[in-house]
Amino acid sequence: MRYLLALWICKVTTWLLRAMHRGATALPGKLALSVCPDILARLASQFTVYVVTGTNGKTTTGLLMSSILEQQGVRYISNKSGSNLERGIVACFAEGVKVSGRSKGATHAVIECDEAAFAKVAGKLNPAVVVVTNFFKDQLDRYGQVTATLNLVKTGAAKAVNATLVLNADDPLCASIGRDLPNNAIYYGMDNSNGNIVDSSHSENEAGYCLYCHSKMDYAYNTYGHLGSYACNQCGYSRPTPQVEMTEYSLTMESATFSYRVDQENYNCSINMSGLFNIYNAMGAIGMGLAIGAAPDHINHALSKSQPGFGRMETVHFGNKAIRTILVKNSMGLNQVINYLISVNQSMTLCFAVNDHISDGEDISWLWDVNLECLSSIKDNLSAIYTCGIRGADMAVRLKYAGLDTDVVYDNSLDGEGSIPIVVQRALEQMEEGGTLVVLPSYSAMLAVRSFLQEKIDMKEFWN
């Protein structure tokens, strides 16, 4: 009875908030949990649940996983708007069931889960598959350190007793989950023995020490950061052999094409998003597809149809000018976007939008961990660089010390946040015809950029 009461409260508050145009916030799930603490387990028990967690790539991997299910003709629900804490996950399931508490028809759920929340909800979700993307430094004011985050995910995975784990073999932190737990595991990775993968951002290996014995590990190769083929000579911990392994790839501004190997067979795949990091995301989704028995050809077909998510390389056009928004949340995320920008070798205008709300991470020190210096190598391709947002001035200093000129638009009479639409508008106006504006926002800045773009699109429609 408490369960149904909690469910109704969740549904009614969601409905009320939407009627007030507030969007469903954290409140409905929060209220439901206070009435019935085990509501999540009861809701989730009706669904086959696939979870994705890890530092970077959760949303995109989740989206690609969903497209595989769609292709398989499976009806599923998902929390794709990015509310990935327990209360958001509760709200997602509540929406997927009728007032009676029975599913509206979906049989599966694709759930993106925050790493800390995963420790709490993994047992309740009883997932069939858990995909873990990677572990990088992220929002340290919240978690403490990378190994602490890894341990939270391990705590959760230990409760997901029925789950097949899909793990990034190239990440020694991520792969250790499979070593420490008895679950079935599918590993994915990239073969770089021919040295084709070059990290133009020269991102640093920050987890090059063995998790088990603290010795320095040997790397046969890196893809980026601490990802690669590692082995500890001291205790023997080494990269597990991936069942799914990328062998070749190429990138354009908008897409990525790659080949991968499963059981000695080679397959070709393309996705409508670029960047080596997105190929990792696709490999994670492919791992999930294989875990549920989907055929590689079907998986590839599904992936080729999928589109980038909310602010993750989303592209909109104004006349013949393109704006591409790429969310950047942490140093490795931005390093890999820089790697992508360098590798596509095309002229562009850049706009960094940096805020410091809780959702962005209040400490913006991570900007100094990013190898922005590398952008100098494509200076000739950069028409202009703009900075905006609450910490736009900090970003301008970072760029200056990286040896890059900034067309800094920062007016102290404005609230820093208010500078975002003004600067994006200005960048767009001053850009040459046919140009591409790449906007690199932190999380809350991304929301501001999107709402600005939305308004612009509406205006256009209105005038047409």
Partner: protein, 257 residues
């Protein structure tokens, strides 16, 4: 005038760089280069011997968990660091890199560990970490214009540092916790040894402090006249000043509301 060179040693950049502290080294490097002072940065990690006479500035960043470097610090680096401290090399420690300069400090579990005992200060384990922005008035920078000496950054530590009588604070807290949340002090300053809890990174925005560290290193190496002449070449610092002031204004305005 002869060409000047400063050598910077960055200790454990691979293990003690939790909060983008590399920015401090970048700031020192650039502001030297902009003055035509050539600047060499050497990274030292575990097992590398620290030869104090090779470096003018030694930087030690923060690591949440100092366990991985503790043994190496005490056995391989301690002697070199103590010599450097006695000889007046410029040393800057941030957060746990700052705590380690004292008599003792807490590890990640709250157990007290012996520090390098270079400075008369102690750090007690605190119960909770209160991350947040800090504005403080940097004592060695105090001069004519009152707010020129304000420095700004982000702190995230649970340890509470108490300074002994032999050393002075780096700054007086205006907003934030600082050393211990009680006595209104932030960081430490003793001769050419500096410590602070501030990330951000500390030096890029607080460029006057960067210039002070460079000045001290030059004075020691080239004498006061040559050092003053070199530091008087002021690189354009408009972007830094805008970032520093906008941050200070926002923090003081927001927190006092």
């Amino acid at each position: 005038m002869c060409a000047m060179t400063l050598n910077i040693c960055h200790l454990y950049p691979d293990l003690m760089n939790t909060y983008g502290d590399k920015g401090n080294v970048i700031a020192l490097e650039r502001r030297c280069q902009w003055r035509d002072i050539s600047c060499q940065v050497t990274n030292l990690s575990r097992q590398d011997i620290l030869e104090p006479d090779k470096y003018d500035i030694i930087f030690l960043g923060a690591g949440q968990d100092t366990e991985s470097i503790y043994e190496d610090m005490m056995q391989v680096k301690a002697e070199g660091l103590r010599t450097a401290a006695n000889e007046g090399n410029v040393i800057l420690g941030i957060s746990s890199g700052y705590q380690m300069l004292g008599e003792y400090y807490p590890d990640v579990k709250g157990n007290s560990l012996a520090g390098l005992s270079i400075l008369d200060m102690r750090t007690e384990a605190g119960t909770d970490r209160i991350p947040g922005n800090v504005v403080c008035d940097c004592i060695p920078l105090q001069g004519a214009e009152p707010t020129d000496s304000y420095i700004v950054g982000f702190e995230s530590h649970s340890g509470k540092t108490f300074l002994g009588n032999g050393v002075s604070p780096l700054a007086k807290v205006i907003q934030g916790q600082g050393n211990n949340g009680q006595d209104g002090t932030e960081g430490v300053c003793y001769g050419n040894i500096f410590g602070s809890y501030l990330h951000g990174s500390l030096l890029p925005k607080n460029y006057r402090l960067t210039d002070l560290l460079i000045l001290r290193a030059l004075q020691r190496k080239y004498g006061n006249d040559a050092a003053q002449a070199a530091i008087a070449v002021l690189p354009d610092s408009t972007a830094e000043e805008i970032a520093r002031l906008s941050c200070i204004n926002r923090i003081l305005h927001k927190e006092s509301r």
